[in-house]
Symmetry: C2
Subunit: 494 residues, 2 copies
Amino acid sequence: MFQTERRFLRLLFLLCILHYEAGQVFGVWPMPQQITQSTDRYLLSPQSFSFSYSKDSAAQSGCSVLDSAFKRYYSLIFPDAADGARKTEFSINTLVKSGECDGYPDEGSDESCEYLLFIFYFVNKTEIQDFPRFEFRGLLLDTSRHYLPLNAILKTLDAMAYSKFNVFHWHIVDDPSFPYQSYSYPDLSSKGAFHPMTHIYTQSDVKRVISHARMRGIRVIPEFDTPGHTQSWGKGQPNLLTPCYKGDVPSGTFGPVNPILDSTYQFMSGLFKEMKSVFPDSYVHLGGDEVNFACWKSNPNVRAFMTKMGFGHDYTKLESYYIENIVNISSALNKTPIVWQDVFDYRERHRPQYVVEVWKGGCYLCEVRRVTKAGLKVILAAPFYLDLPGPTHNWARYYNVRPLAFKGTDQQKALVIGGEVCMWGEYVDATNLHPRLWPRACAAAERLWSNEEMTSNVDQAFPRLEKFRCSLIRRGIQAEPLFVGYCKDEYRGV
Amino acid sequence: MFQTERRFLRLLFLLCILHYEAGQVFGVWPMPQQITQSTDRYLLSPQSFSFSYSKDSAAQSGCSVLDSAFKRYYSLIFPDAADGARKTEFSINTLVKSGECDGYPDEGSDESCEYLLFIFYFVNKTEIQDFPRFEFRGLLLDTSRHYLPLNAILKTLDAMAYSKFNVFHWHIVDDPSFPYQSYSYPDLSSKGAFHPMTHIYTQSDVKRVISHARMRGIRVIPEFDTPGHTQSWGKGQPNLLTPCYKGDVPSGTFGPVNPILDSTYQFMSGLFKEMKSVFPDSYVHLGGDEVNFACWKSNPNVRAFMTKMGFGHDYTKLESYYIENIVNISSALNKTPIVWQDVFDYRERHRPQYVVEVWKGGCYLCEVRRVTKAGLKVILAAPFYLDLPGPTHNWARYYNVRPLAFKGTDQQKALVIGGEVCMWGEYVDATNLHPRLWPRACAAAERLWSNEEMTSNVDQAFPRLEKFRCSLIRRGIQAEPLFVGYCKDEYRGV
């Protein structure tokens, strides 16, 4: 079922823009690469509508991902449709040129011409040809700072699909809690979760998330962030974290993962081996951000190790040493690592192959330039932090991001594989997740999907986004308002 | 049923603090005036718990407001209680000293010693004596900029009761829409609402809101804001708004209510007569804020009227003239008017009796001082604007408000009857209303209910508020998190 080599085309993202309703066709979001519209309008009835596979399509009826998507979107288009006899007058013709239809989505799904997908919508005299600008359009949820019930994650995946996001970056564990129930190391969640029974993700939960995502063309990339952000790990895995010292004696507190012990790498190997069996994606996120060196510095054994390794007093070298080991572990498992930019910033001369996720504010494009100049792929997250409780109502700040507006060669720009919306969990749980994400994340989605020149005008985008947010509401997504106004169907899930 | 003269005591607000659960008794919010706690703990079982009326209580069994509250809170305390035989071992003894139990709540309900309510909780060896610091603890919802489905309002009333708010200020109409379905002037909503059938409040809806509020000891004060903020009124009531001029000819646009026509006052009399029959509260909010004089200035008839009245070029005098007429209309109907501070700022020498709501930022306590110096009552809203999409996560900004920290006599301070949380609707509808209100509004609630000295420490309040927010979640209120952490029962209404 899962495979990463053969590529399959993700049709389902594109389907959501077919939402016929008087005037609604202008509410297409994100903007397709090519769209021609006429005001001529034809009655589209449930009986005269169908999806079909093109004769030349590699995928045909029986491809469950597409068949399920057809069914789902038919209900979205015609919520009140009686299941009567159908005549094919209008149709969406699906042409899959190559690829394994029912495979697990992978990074090649929509990146090259070879695998381009063309759909022609003959609705409302509209013709659309579409493909994404960036192959990686991610959204991060943080399930450690607050636990998110499974439904909140599944609902987020639904909304992601409507907005054509294709990567769910699951920041599943962190300092506050370890909700992932590992079958190799069950103590990690039984001792490290907020609650060992109610605030965990079982193997069955994880499977459900991956399956729900797959049916919507979304890949699931787990992040097991180390060596920092691991306080909760220490509760269930003795000797994993570095004991901090006060003078000559242990203080009783613990710092980052202990990088000087063989047992650390044995444990990490075991955990990542489990990861490989649980998460089918070819990417794995290794974290590597915000490592506080104070505890390492306080520990005499760590200091001795520094001397032995010739690191002097440069603890970034120790971090690099640690990360390189972890990168090697994951590479040996055929996983492509993603790391936060700190790892790149602290890199040693020997540079392992990883994708760098740029997250720090300030001149983030300067960092993008540096990383691509070093020949590494980049995911841009810095301008898409949507979790901040600051003045975040202004969706245009995300819309106006120009991911490629740095000085660099074409080769460098091609290394920017996409971007990612980050919804960190300090102030976010299931009570406010959805309205904080939607529709602001849609602004980032269009930036990552659409042609930048066609979508550079905020004023023109506004009414389209307003309509799209009403579509989200109609589909049960708790998307907050952009400004004064109303939707035909208001959110009533109170 | 409804009466404003006889006073009745609101017990129900106080009941919500009885929420027995190991350790939870320390999560009392807002802080009672007196509380003594011991760590001694007794098992409290559903079978051994009851509410009862004190022998000396004026209200006895049969008082539906209290009987219903008892039933409601019993279920909240014991959500899984089997309805078995009960023995009264622990009890809450209710003593109502005077007043009509089943009456409509009014402004005297908890303001004086005469009507003080004492409840003794013999749970967890805790004794509480409680009464509110301010009689007016309001919360404003704006149903014009976005329509709020009835459920969203009812749910807000539930949460208000848990936090001991006692006034629902219903900013029901404004420029964008007129959702109130008037039986005297049905065109106001049929032409002025976002949608004449789906985005309105019928008479039955309004009755339901008032009844739901009454059962929770909450008064409903409607606001029909004039002469500004009335664009939606003009759609269903011809000749009500001032025609704006461009040079010598009408421009086709309209400004505030036309203050120079008799027909205006006839209409307003008719509308307020309806208000009196629909809304039982002794207060009515007349608005009077943010009147833009440009349109009045452009209109030659208005200018002629100014000359005739000897107002010169001072349009604040025209506004005062208008408001005075409206105040007189409502006073004749035995309604006490509340107005936004603009009306006070523009006052003529002849000062009608109204309550002034202070809303403008800057030195709001300077304004409170001026208003009370003029002998008028004040409601303080300025520091409690919770709708702003700015950096609003910091609940402490509302908690740290000191409503009486101005130089003034005791008489002046006594004129500050309370405060009000304002949730304006530009960026708020049912999708984000609840998490934006709760638990931040609780910070304001404690400021208005509790002794200021006992509740001046943010750090001490924080864990109590965190626990209270978990109680709100458990009761189905979508209250957002304050910071990293978890509740035993997470919000799952996704």
